[in-house]
């Protein structure tokens, strides 16, 4: 099939403002990845086209971009998901809400700053077990935060969030997902500190439950649900309480 790629271009060394470039590709297979098409444009037609990519199978999180109006990883969306027939049009632009540096590349620093602000690391100041072995954790307790361990920091969620577009100071869904991953890990001891960060004006209450983040997540993380659980933990006054009840429920459920 033939595909017309409409790509948002901007070279800070030459262009005063962004413009649309159009590139036609022949002999495209329906199961080609959009990333392959971007490579074909870059390699066969215009080497100045710039975008980030690495693993090319949806794990490294480099190639988040807006494809036909929706945030996606270019390596995880196939042409056949965007159109059928002899001719398909695909529009590609940088993610919104972060400054465009060149073509499809945005400034990720504000994103990672928000990430770093939520204590995205394991804290446990107790001595490690005396037998020199692992800390114990039940399979149910491990499952409690499984969903949010999947995050690859691609920024597809945060840059699809209208609250983040409105005000970049909002910590954003990805950072909340990271906070959730540790708040609900029963081995971790800094949940209260993280909940304090989440309670701040630029924290979790900026979320208006729009669900864009959940639809955008290429790892199928239930982002809005995770944000809701953090809100709930704040309301209940900490993860201690929530874990006790949920632990009981889960234990019952597991039978």
């Amino acid at each position: 099939m033939q595909v017309t790629m409409r790509i948002r271009r901007f070279n800070p060394e030459k262009d005063k403002k962004p413009y649309w470039g159009e590139y036609t590709l022949d002999n495209v297979e329906p199961n080609d990845r959009v990333l392959e098409l971007l490579h074909r444009v870059k390699w066969e037609q215009d080497g100045t086209l710039s975008f980030r990519r690495s693993c090319a199978h949806g794990v490294c999180g480099s190639d988040g971009m807006r494809i036909n109006g929706v945030n996606r990883l270019a390596c995880k969306v196939l042409v056949n998901a965007l159109g059928e027939g002899d001719h398909v049009k695909i529009q590609v632009e940088p993610m919104l809400g972060l400054q465009v540096l060149k073509d499809l590349i945005v400034d990720m620093e504000p994103f990672f700053e928000h990430y770093r602000s939520v204590m995205p690391y394991f804290v446990n100041n107790d001595p490690v077990p005396a037998d020199g072995r692992e800390r114990l954790q039940s399979a149910a307790a491990r499952a409690r935060f499984d969903d949010t361990t999947k995050c690859i920091l691609c920024a597809c969620c945060t840059t699809s969030c209208p609250s983040f577009w409105a005000d970049g100071k909002y910590v954003g869904p990805a950072a909340i997902v990271q906070a959730h991953r540790f708040i609900f890990d029963d081995r971790d001891q800094a949940a209260d500190e993280r909940l304090k960060i989440m309670r701040e004006p630029d924290g979790v209450w900026r979320c208006r439950t729009i669900f864009n983040c959940t639809s955008a997540c290429p790892r199928d993380i239930e982002v809005t649900r995770a944000i809701g659980e953090v809100k709930m933990a704040i309301r209940r006054g900490g993860r201690g309480a929530i874990q006790e009840t949920e632990g009981t429920e889960e234990a019952g459920g597991e039978g």
């Binding site: 199978h57 692992e134 491990r142 499984d146 540790f182």
Partner: protein, 599 residues
Amino acid sequence: MQTHQYEALIVGGGGAGLMAALYASRGARTAVISKLYPTRSHTGTAQGGIGAALGNLEEDRPEWHAFDTVKGGDYLTDQDAALVLAEGAIEAVIELEHLGLPFDRTPEGRISQRRFGGHTSNFGGKPVRRACHSADRTGHMILQTLYQQCIKNNVTFFDEYHVVDLIRNGDAVVGVVAVNIDSGELHVFHSKAVLFATGGWGRVWEVTSNAHTLTGDGNVITYRRGVPMQDMEFFQFHPTGIYKMGILITEGVRGEGGVLLNDRGERFMEHYAPSIKDLASRDVVSRAIFLELRAGRGIKGQNYVHLDVTPETVNRYLAEAGESRRITGEYIESKLPDILDFCRTYLGVDPVKEPMPIQPTAHYGMGGIPTDLDGRAVIDAQRTPLPGLYAAGECACVSVHGANRLGTNSLTDLIVFGLRSGKHMAQYCQGTDFTPLPSNPAGEIEAELERIRHASGTRKPYELRAEMQKVMMQQVSVFRTAEGMQEAVNTIQRLQDEYRNNLVIDDHGQRFNSDLLEAWELGCLLDIAQVTTASALAREESRGAHSREDFPKRDDEQWMVHTLAYRTADGGVELNHDKPVDLSLAAKDERFKPKERVY
């Protein structure tokens, strides 16, 4: 030009680099320089598990792990290194857990473990549960956990800085040159010690599991500055890549009971590895698949076979083997979620209901920058260290993997030897002063980058790259012959000539000039292809991943030696075969003596 000064520099932000950074930064001013954001590193794609003889589900011992590693490496593994790996693995995995890594758990709350190819109990007995895992995203969890801990410990990062040269002053190692990818400017980093942890070079081949960015930078940068590459003829083709795409399907699929089937529906591994069948070493399974395909037993005559993990098939074989365990679709969903997602996304195939089409895919370089057990680069057959230069992870060759790496040992390698290198660097930096930079330390690399930026030939980098990948796939992959490799030598020589004299790129600018940097990476890939082929052509035997049709037998009389490849002044390759394999375990224990490798 900006100049920075740190005592220790870590080049590469994957598992080995970050582990080293955590330890080096405890005793030395340390910076990590990475051409990617560290969380984009390829460690994150490792799926099935990290090998450590924790014995959480059944008896296991580090000596057994060391034995499997030696045997898996077809006895080219340095045995002292295998023992350090196996013993260090236990501590290292426990440390990862203490750092918060969310391993899957056993019913008792311990780290869960599963079977993996080539890992056995009692010196080659039954498959053993040794792979510690977190679903099928163990590498992701390791990478995230280490990055998180680096943030916690305020490690300094230079993200999206592409290291392109090693600075030496006389014999001393004094730093690196990097391109700030955003601005295009060159930065000089002055240091007492440099660790390369730049990962692999799978992009030399056409079908690969490797990221686009895995171009062997660290190996080539050091090679061009006088350091040899070791054992480059040994490159692993993982048996189960998604057909045509090369995306990896973890061995954990077979660990959970999945089987390989040919067009007749035969479980053909029964013929090639009667004892442990589908869980034989990767080189063995890849060769078996090639032979099945060559015999016309690919599915529908095509170039692939099936990997079947549907509960129906798995349970049938479990019953046949007299095992009581049975699996369900839900179980597969919980143990292999990412694999299911890959197949559904890229193939429209649901592995719970139907088999996956797979073919061998270029996966892992056993060779690399030769190092000792503390990650110090050693530059000759006498294992003389080059003070201040370190390497860890895939770009290094300790050598724990010998001629063929066992599944899960790459993660173990980068944690164990990342840690040891980081510790040693910190000590080294405390006892050493800075050697001054030479004058104009970035001059040479600047000239080379400007040559590429303004080259006015006719061949674009992607054309040359595609030609290289094709000839390497055809002639220097699972099976090799002198004739085929000679063709590869000639092709690569022509491509290198075109690279130097007839290249052209489109982007002449400064900012985010990935056209330029990809072209520079192509230069690295070509050097690696050249060294790999020269090393493979010289080794007239078959061992591990290096399988010569014209020399089908392993030759322990002549070839219990490592290959060292040096760059000559005119860009040729000079080989040295004087470095013997370490056999220190065999000296004490008969069982470690080289013998025929049967699974």
